[in-house]
Symmetry: D2
Subunit: 332 residues, 4 copies
């Protein structure tokens, strides 16, 4: 039985989910759509041949589980409302820009006994999944160094920046989740950022950063991020261990050879870089809903990544390493 997903929020990522739920997902299907903008809901409903509803409450009535892709400020309240209705939740990151609100949402799902999965899509990319399996099986030996790069091709527009929650919470948060998944809990964060672009400097926003991590295991980690790499969307990861080292880089398409040069394309955005991960995260969520298992990436993971982002922001501000309490998650 496929799981019927009610999709709330039909902006850019919401439409990615809609497309995947129609063609891409094998376990989840698009059951119903909702958006605060009724016209948008009607348009998507017509395109994807599914019902639309005018309220979130109706959406919860008409689905097996809900996927929340609405504006950030509504993530936590909608999650709590779904939990109250007994409906499992897939929620885009961040759960909230407020730690207490995020924790409240996590606890609401816990109390209600419903699954809560966060939209850290990279955990579902086939390359990372394959690498993680071998890493978790111990093939690397003792991990010594974790290194990852996440860079956007083009900078976001200024309006977006005003609501982004800050560089580390918006960009690095994905790498914090990767770090924890692949190398374990982080106990110290040192962040260094610049505003290479004068427009970013003018609004007091970072656009390029390096974050150094110390893991509970004693390993070292390093993350680099940029808002505008220029050449493309970069997402690559390396984990160096005593027995082996794993590296994941972008796939390369067809080669074009012209005089003296060999060239191939490189992804321009997350959709090109991750053609399969967004469908797979919803299928994995559907399996959890159907089988009653725990999601691979939970609300507690979201809070842990949030805490690392907050520590990075503090470190960047103070110029000092900031210690992090892994045990803090869930402690309120």
């Amino acid at each position: 039985m496929t799981v019927g997903i009610g999709l709330a929020g039909l902006g850019r990522i919401g439409r990615v989910h809609a497309r995947n739920l129609r063609g891409g997902c094998g376990e989840a299907r698009l059951a119903c759509v909702y958006d605060a903008n009724t016209a948008a809901a009607q348009a998507v409903a017509a395109e994807f041949e599914v019902p639309w509803v005018a309220t979130y409450a109706e959406l919860l009535d008409r689905c097996d589980a809900v996927a929340i892709a609405t504006p950030t400020a509504t993530h936590a309240p909608l999650t709590i409302e779904a939990a109250a209705a007994g409906t499992p939740v897939f929620c885009e990151k961040p759960l909230s820009q407020d730690r207490d609100a995020a924790l409240a949402a996590v606890e609401a799902c816990d109390v209600a006994g419903v699954a809560l999965q966060i939209g850290f899509h990279r955990r579902f990319d086939p390359d990372w999944v394959a690498a993680a399996q071998r890493i978790h099986a111990g093939e690397l030996g003792q991990v010594q160094l974790f290194r990852t790069s996440l860079r956007d091709m083009d900078p976001p527009n200024p309006e977006f920046l005003a609501h982004s929650g800050g560089f580390f919470a918006d960009v690095t948060v994905h790498d914090f989740d990767m770090a924890r998944w692949l190398a374990g809990e982080v106990v110290e964060v040192s962040a260094h950022g610049i505003s290479a672009d004068p427009e970013f400097a003018a609004v007091g926003e970072l656009d390029t950063a390096v974050v150094v991590l110390r893991f509970a295991s004693g390993a070292l980690g390093v993350v680099d991020n940029a808002r505008a790499a220029g050449y493309g969307y970069e997402c690559s990861t390396e984990v160096m261990g005593t027995l082996a080292t794993a590296r994941i880089d972008a796939p390369r398409g067809p080669e074009w050879r012209t005089p003296g040069q060999v060239a191939h394309g490189t992804p321009r955005d997350f959709a090109q870089r991750f053609p399969l991960a967004y469908a797979e995260e919803l299928d994995a969520f559907a399996r959890c809903v159907r089988d009653g298992t725990e999601p691979l990436v939970t609300g507690r993971d979201a809070v842990a990544a949030f805490d690392l982002a907050a520590a990075a922001a503090e470190s960047q501000r103070t110029g000092r390493p900031v210690a992090v309490e892994p045990a803090g998650v869930g402690a309120g």
Copy 2:
């Protein structure tokens, strides 16, 4: 509106189609299944939550278009039956091992005015699509050399070989279609084959071959094929032109570094090599059905590739180049 596909034949490739029609295709959906083996039909119907029918005629009644993945000998008759019912047809290759039967099927679809698309999946792989667009746009200048390799990892079992239609019709036929698509009509074929494996030699079957092509344009082409490359499934293509040269090779997954060595996985079969092409060919077919446009790869393409395979078999037998009449398609 998605197009409802009736799927006939639920063996290995039939089940690949079923899975894609549930999750993978955005324009086509699985409407109903049929197999001469009723138990197989029931099992697939249950797994994929669709109706099953006991006869092919009922299948045609319950779908917008039919996908035929039954044993080869039934391809042409089932195509003709669908044409008579006015139902568009997607048919696995080969249309028939008998040229006249294949032509009769093509003509039946022509007369009935229904679309007929052949399962040459490589035409729908994103890398080949991207390369073909640029090649057809003239970016290579004059094509001088076409080169392609298609190799299976492990040899098929002997029972399969008895019904394969011969090496060139079973294996090289895909490359003949590529050659025609990317470099135009072929006017001469020279084929050279060996039986490297004594088991193949014992049953008089080739397992490794090189086929040299001359194109109507004056360009030269070369194909190499193997039943058992050992290391993996190889499918790669190069087109060398006066202005540029295009190359398509297998994508590379995560890298594993161990002392003194860097390694990554390589595809083991067509399903690993072409994760997207099988879904896309059905979506493209669905668009043709919905919009009334001609398929990218038609029954006439199947007959043309068939003729090249027959010429290759003759060349291999006689040790001489064999001329091919491109105009022969459809001439009966």
Copy 3:
């Protein structure tokens, strides 16, 4: 003790040898230079700080061994003269465009008991050396398929073509030597060539060819060659065996990433593609001279490759496979 090389012929490849003998070779040194053009000899002598001589006889007097890089027609006579003087010979290919003359040179060296090494540089490239060692050690299992590409970037000028000895003797001969080295003796050759460039067609010269080989072992081989690949100088080889497959491709230099594209340079000529092989072939020759061992690539190898080139030319002319007698070498 380094071996003092007398260098005869100071054209393009002669000057490559001069440079390597000064900086690049560790076992061979430039002892003296000679060219029929005295001014050229004087200029090179001044640049490389070595003596020059006005006659070939004087050159033989002043060296431990001679390297012949003069025009093709003089290769065999100069080899025979060196043999008569008891001087070991390194000679650029071809030994002669006349089979009997080549054989006479080989036999003169045999009779005199002096080493004769032919300038098939690829046998000394580190990548091919590494691959050959493992292939010869049996790591591939039974070789099933040999595949190689040799393509120049830009076409030679017409005057060169008039004295090239023909496409197969000038270009493919390197691949014939590779084929014999890596996969054993060849027993049948089928050649297919075109003149894609109208200027080549006008003078009756091929510019693109595919040659299919059958080996004594039963394996199949395929060579493709072009006078003008356009994008660069291509030299790559694959040997597919039952246990493993080896591939050698051009190294890739630094990567340049610009919007949506990743690019790197590709070699434009043999000097860029083989930065080490030309020095190494002279060092290997010097070791043979010093130690009295047989060169890796002898005059008999040159004749064998010559015979394959002649067979290819005949096959291309007649449109039929041509059988080759491996035992023919030395039989006169």
Copy 4:
């Protein structure tokens, strides 16, 4: 005229230089050798067919320029002695583990007007040279991020560590030189190190480190280093700019394909990674000597890199970013 090099110090790197001066260098030649261990000098002299001398003073008498590859503590005094004799100096890094001693050596060469080149070999590797030319020509636009990895395959032995001068001065110093060369002066250093290997922890030595740099230009930089990467010797660099991004990685040799896997070798040490740079740095030095030009990498560069290493050590100790005065070089 080639430049005769007197080689002082015949340990591991000294012998690399000897070999290159015999075969590899085209502008420099090995004129004479010296080692405090007379037997070692005699052995190398015999092997390379050059004179040996028993004292450094005699060596200076018998060469156009001197290459110093002796133990670190003697670098500065031998440089000063050469300067006093008017002999140009190529000196292995570090010039000294004492900043004042290093500066004194630099000043002695300045006063004497003799060239002083430091053995930062990577500045002479063809890939880095090619990248640097394009970077310095402005092709990257504004540099935003500099990233580099330098990792040894196997850890050094404990005796070496005792005299290494510390992790940052021994390992990272090469990357500091790269950073300055490719992205300009560094104004702040933040270093983070661990002792992943208990043997390193036991002697209080780091084995893995990440160093974050802020450049005078405003750009950010990140270096990662390891004493024991396990899989091989890693040396790769990336410079990300607003217009383009350059990346340099290790070349890849022949590919070996076995069931489901594609593998190639990776360098195991600096000699494998840099087959050409050690010869080229001596040739470049010879050209400076002959032409009276300034070396590409001077004693002041050595002091600047030394200062960055000292700042890194301080940062690692204090847990704080350390500011660096680029103007400090030469100020005593």
